[in-house]
Amino acid sequence: MSGNRTKLNLIVLRIFQIIALVLILLLAASTFFPQQSELSSGYSSPNLIVRWMSLDRFYNSGLNGILWLFLTVLLVLAVIFNIVRTTTQKALHLLLALIFGVVFLNKNLEVRFFLPIAEGKEVLLSSFVDRLPEKDDATVRLERFEIPTHAGTSAPKNYISHLVINQIEPVDLAVNRPVSVGKFHLYQNSYDRVFYFRVEINDKSFETAFGDTFNVDGMPVSVVAFDDHTEKFIMSIGDEEFRPPLDQPFPAGGKTVRIIPQGIRFISVIEVVQPVGVKWLSVLGLLYIFSLVLAFRQRPVERRG
């Protein structure tokens, strides 16, 4: 009986060593390959081995998930079969298993998306989340995006989005200072700058940026780019392409077009998260540290076999 127990201890230990080694090697290798989520969704590494091992999408791969699942199961088995002896060590292993479980739930259940908002524009959260109940919906308007700098330098001190929530509540969102909007937490992720133009087509005026599309008399119109060599815009009206100059009337598609630069505006990129279990993760993480301290303070129990 004790011989079987010793064998079981060894088997569980060996499995842990193998899984840990495989995870170490795959994680290490995957850092050398740009992950597929960082590139276009259609991208796949030309290297067959990299694709087969999912090294170009390892962090989001089923392989990664399965290895962590095995680890979690092993942690629980080590406690059930008394492979870890002391109460503190058992608590430590169970805590870790719980942490992995909460991480799994969090990563699969949480709602997360990026919300790019241009200055002066307003967006609805429901336009980014399917089937969002009306009571959880909110409008977010970016009044102004600010980049305060360190005194005497041009280095940014913070990135601040001055928002108005539901058209009444002004809040400031900054790095390290998230805000809550109902069930959602908003985080200042990054920003972008765009050149804005006023496009006058006959007697109508439109505000737009490169790549935006708007409709004129049922036809899609877009200012695509600016050609630095010819110093003319590249513009499409319907299926036709035109090259109007800067701030001069130009005949295009039976209309008179004029493109007038308006300046630069910021686009604040806000990460919106509806978290699941994150507070529990913080608590479990701190408990894990505490139990590590306790486990290390104990005299080591001699492992048999």
Partner: protein
Amino acid sequence: METPILILSLSFYFIAAVLCFFKKSSEKIFLSVMAVAIVLHLIAMIIRSVAVLHPPFTNLYETFLLLSFLLALRLVFWKRQFPKNLRWLILAIIYLFLLTALVMPTSYKMPKPLMPALNSAWMYIHVPSYFFGYMALILGFIYAATLLVHRWKNPERDDLSLVNRMDTEIKIAFLFLNIGLVTGGIWAYRSWGNYWAWDPKETWALINIFIMAFYFHLDKPTVTRKAVLVILVLLSVIFTYLGVTFIFSGLHSYA
């Protein structure tokens, strides 16, 4: 501005290292020399902090100063743990870190304002935790290297006290690396809304934890196996600390 003081501190560390080779040298003299070196080192770090308007651990230069300072503190305040014949080795490592910091290109030393993401109280817990861990790991490595040399010269030699000390250092390192990992996750969630982003630095920090977990999960924890694992962990940590910074871009690129 702190360079002349660091050079002075370096000189005193060198004197302390030389004293280790004199068997009849007084412990008091050694401690006095170390005390002067540490005070000068601390003054240099304070000057740096005042110049950059934040504690000095946000780039490679500053963390080299911090790591060597922590090693020196440990050597003085827990000197009974370190056999006299190993002190010179610890001092050599301190000397190496400080010298490397001094000869770094100016671009690494230029005071730079804090990035928005770093402007958080969590930085004062997350970063020092990792460097406490690295400090303990370096000391663990010294014991591991010593054990391997002893084993090579005399396989029958009993080095229980050295093994126990190595175990202690690895436990300290493992604890602080985990503190760094957990507090890093909490900080990241506060800053970016995501406690884990598989950033290369984060991934390698996790790899280090796994390798160290091996240390505590050896089925036959012989001295040689443990010592070799410590060396592997150190190599992995060196890659995490330096290799990742220079080879990969990511959220931790500023480090």
